[in-house]
Point group: C3
Chain length 471, copies 3
């Protein structure tokens, strides 16, 4: 009897979850939450002041392993951002140097990547070049205070700032009340700001989590770009939309290409059923049905290759420049990744071998070889077309149909830019990652039919007008 | 022995779900479904005739609370859409007046919002102005029958209907067989139709669930725009793609901006694990890891502020007009939201305080203050650029390079429109919601390099031709 | 006592899943995995060589039903792609003929669809026409070897290859080192390649899973386009992003339209809670809250109509051509779907009746009739506009403002193309599938204001220059 009652009780217990869900939504298991040490004064205060970040941390592996606020926020000796905060010495900018206390190898990998250097390769390049030319240390707070990298970026006319040419023409670029602040809320949100600590310890270039952020301690990068504080979840970093925060849009639509691809389609259809938190190095074909960005570019997938945080390591081609070349050497192999772009066939080939190692876990070698062969042809096509386009602009300059002095204000210059920087990348990248509409319609067709077609037509019109005017 | 058997049986029961799933898909718990009262003649008939809506209702809170068809569909006395249906007096257009029977405060909030007024602010504005100028009640069925708002929208030349200028030029706008029906299946699907009940009780402007729908009973809006019938789920209304039904595309890509943002990235990575049906007012940082649209603009998040269905209430800037200004007063504060657009610094500032109250639950005050400061600079930049662009068009009119009589058929007019209505909004909105590519590439760069660059080039060409022709 | 202990044990067992999840992620039930027969030499080898495909198969219904590699990969007698592979006779191109061994009716339905014929209707059309004109069998390996369909596609100037006109002008189209390979990694990835088996049994046109692939055995299509090998999951095929692999982008953005629609919004909000693996013919309103692509175009939804793999069967309009007409007869009703496009009012009307049968399971008849009426008006509008645009180009040819010899290299020709092939389809398709921004902004407004507005302006400029030059 007693036993029967126990069993009935048990059965009732089993029905509870169903009962709870009585209002139309199937009940979910609550996510495990780490306990809070009430003696931790960071936590007890922030739980009231900013409960979201405490909750986020309580969901993290850090929390379950007893790694709490002070472990990452206690200011380092040489970090100008560190300072007093209610009796503690803290920084609000834990740089990769802080993460390296436990994750040294990951930080080292990232440091040699274009990710870490992307502010200096991007909108902070004019500042970097100027500092170097003056013999100054471009990483130091002193140099930044002296030269003001943000203002250099906002006032320079260059295709690096593609709106600068027309802005110059309108006069706005030189007006002090025009802030040109899309440099900050555009470029720098992904590329990273130079974070400068002012006299009164407020931060310039803040808030920012750009992946190439120049930190007050002189280090490059922001790990929380992809491992969002304060969960720092491997699941998040493995999911495609994390990369899609920056890898999207007219100039490098990797997330859109992925979404179109068969890989992305399978992720959309069944990704929620996959295993996302398998430890690094063990994650493999048993866990997921199709690769995400991280699978191919970062993970030690299937134990067949080493994990890397140097995201260029498995690539053959540089697909972003005006003319594609085999991958540059990484930041550990050159003196300076900004000023020295050394294309290196050998490491490019090694990169492709690594990438194929991932592919081959699901595809036959004839499949893999065949695809890469076709992809290489597309890159070659683009390069040939680019040579034609670039010559067309040089000819236009020579004929006086456009003027070189403002390099990015006349239509032929604008189409020239759109071809290499926008549609020409889509053409190449769509082919790289199996997104046919991106390679064809938004790539080759946009480049050739629309941009080059319009450029040719504009030049013809200019030539006719020139000839009529000289009559 | 018996006990052992019972336990074994129990263990077997526990294995059943796994057994059921033997064909490759992990089994899901079935969603709870309310029972059907077989005496309810609405339900028993519609279960055969349109099973989808009955099933949908059975999943709703309404169903579990015993609120069935008649509660919302029984026609109100003054509602011209009410009428006989198999012996019952019903309407197929339950307006916000019907929802207000139980949800009065939510309907009141919504009524003062731009959402409720968006048909009259949008494509039905010419009708509204005409009715007002004739001293007629623009909300009444009689006025609508007399003036035909749909036909006014389809035949007026105005940048409100940005294809109307070129359509006029082609002659199609005046051809009776050209219906110009993208006004209905385009504009009115989001903004709402004027639903008119004809003599024989059929409905014109139907089907429609536009959020600014003008209902036969004279009320404005359609609650089911966001709380889709017949589940009316708070989960759905809290998810971003519900807002994304209308807030997308070249002119206000809020959903795309959200998807790019860190907020959207976290939603994509872990949203399926969050709590979506926590009661209103209790939803907070314990439930979700990042905000959705509703969190910031509507919810009484974390119990720190009041829930509102006036979606403009927490905003400082109007980002949609040609020139951005602090928020207009809402429909309760002016006589007429269509004809009186009163920018009000005070309530705009109060709105920003509310918004910051949401931000501060996860971010430090220096983070929040810093971001808004940068955002305001972007809006200021846009305004300065706009002044330049608008002057450029006025100068072109003055020089005879374009003609004012058809306001939207010549290229300079078209670029002028694209700048404020499309790319210039992306520039501002991308900055507002942390979508850097939308602020930069699809915003500032599209505005300045592409649209303004093309406009300048077109004007130069026109000027040269004018001068050659006058030789 | 024993009993009590057993119950306690059981309770502990029930707690295990919670315990396992201690690191911050709610534990998921593992997906059932079929056992591997260790005597199966395909499996035992491929488990080491390409573990991903074995894992994928182990998740399939095929695996649980004992259908393993040999069942689908054993080469058919008349299949030139079949050959020796470690002692077995296998093909790596299991065509629809292979699938038809078990799924004959589905293959038959697909064979009469535009899906199966889409390579020949698309980029392989010039090859097909040439083969027919020479009296050759366009399906045979011999003809393909003789004529080389891939090279014909890559070297022909035609709006079928919209970049070909400008490429011709640049000289690149005729340069042997210019591969024009976006035809392969663009067009053919969706439309399908002609897979040719060379002398040494390597495959040309490989890898490829385009839905209109011409297989070595002469059959058309690739079932794994939508039912990805090796899971062949009905769940995947029912989810919208599977169709979105090809139905996206500037020329037919069905997935983007779906995402905007109320249907897509509901899918985004609650789709993960729906039943996706209900057997074909039983799937209905009890399983899902809103339709996906498959629901309306393929499924025997709610048991109210027959399942079909002829995706055009339920459509009234052809929305892709320059001028919309009622659906063509399918490939079973004409001698040749490439050369004979017979618009058939009768079967188009039958198609609409079928589509309405789906709609009516969730919508009232006035709702359904009303929507289709509005949609038809939009198609009619587009057709009238198209007549105007086409006449405009013919007039331009007549006046010498553009030249007919290269049909797709001058701006008026390019706008003419963009209008029917890109924006004009978005206009019609957005209306068909309830995506108002696609019908309005990206459709009608892009067509009329931007494309036609620019075309008119360009023609005026050309006319002025012509007149100035002739002075």
């Amino acid at each position: 009897m007693k036993c029967k009652r126990a069993v009935i009780l048990l059965l009732l217990c089993m029905l509870i979850p169903m009962g709870l869900a009585a209002e139309g939504v199937a009940e979910k298991a609550p996510r495990p939450l780490a306990e809070i040490d009430e003696d931790d004064s960071c936590l007890s205060c922030h739980q009231a002041v900013s409960p979201g970040i405490v909750q986020s941390w309580r969901l993290s592996k850090h929390a379950f392993a007893g790694i709490s606020c002070a472990a990452c926020h206690t200011g380092h000796t040489n970090d100008p951002s560190a300072g007093e905060h209610f009796g503690f010495n803290v920084t609000s900018v834990p740089s990769p140097n802080y993460c390296a206390q436990c994750h040294a190898e990951e930080v080292r990998q990232n440091s040699r990547s274009k990710h870490a250097w992307t502010a200096f390769i991007g909108h902070l390049k004019p500042y970097y070049e100027k500092a170097r030319s003056m013999g100054l240390d471009p990483f130091s707070q002193e140099t930044a205070k002296r030269l003001d990298p943000d203002q250099i970026a906002k006032r320079t006319v260059s295709p690096l700032f593609p709106d600068s040419g027309v802005l110059k023409m309108t006069g706005l670029l030189d007006r002090p009340d025009y802030e040109h602040n899309n440099v900050n809320l555009g470029c720098a949100q992904c590329h990273g700001t130079f974070v400068v600590v002012t006299e009164d310890r407020t931060l310039k270039g803040w808030p920012n989590t750009g992946i190439g952020r120049v930190n007050p301690d002189g280090s490059l990068g922001s790990c929380s770009s992809c491992h969002t504080r304060h969960q720092f979840s491997v699941e998040e970093a493995r999911k495609p939309h994390t990369c899609g925060q920056c890898h999207l849009g007219p100039d490098h639509p990797q997330i859109e290409i992925y979404e179109e691809s068969k890989h992305g389609n399978i992720y959309d259809a069944s990704g929620e059923q996959w295993n996302w938190d398998t430890p690094a190095g063990e994650w493999g074909t048993d866990d997921i049905d199709a690769p995400t960005c991280a699978t191919c570019h970062i993970s030690g997938f299937g134990g067949q290759l080493e994990t890397t945080h140097d995201v260029g390591e498995r690539l053959y081609w540089e697909l972003q420049p005006k003319r594609s070349v085999p991958q540059w050497k990484n930041a550990e192999e050159v003196e300076d990744l900004v000023l020295q772009r050394v294309s290196d066939q050998k490491s490019a080939e090694a990169g492709r071998v690594k990438m194929k190692t991932v592919c081959l876990q699901c595809h036959s070698s004839s499949w893999v070889e065949g695809y890469f062969e076709e992809f290489d042809k597309v890159v070659n096509d683009y390069n040939l077309l680019w040579d034609y386009v670039d010559q067309l602009l040089q000819d236009a300059y020579a004929k006086g149909l456009a003027s070189k002095d403002n390099p990015i204000d006349e239509l032929p210059e604008i189409y020239h830019y759109l071809i290499w920087h926008h549609s020409g990348r889509r053409w190449r990248m769509g082919a790289a990652m199996m997104g046919p509409d991106w390679s064809h319609w938004n790539g080759a067709v946009d480049t050739i039919m629309i941009n080059l077609g319009s450029m040719q037509s504009d030049l013809e019109m200019r030539e006719k007008l020139q000839s009529l005017e000289s009559k």
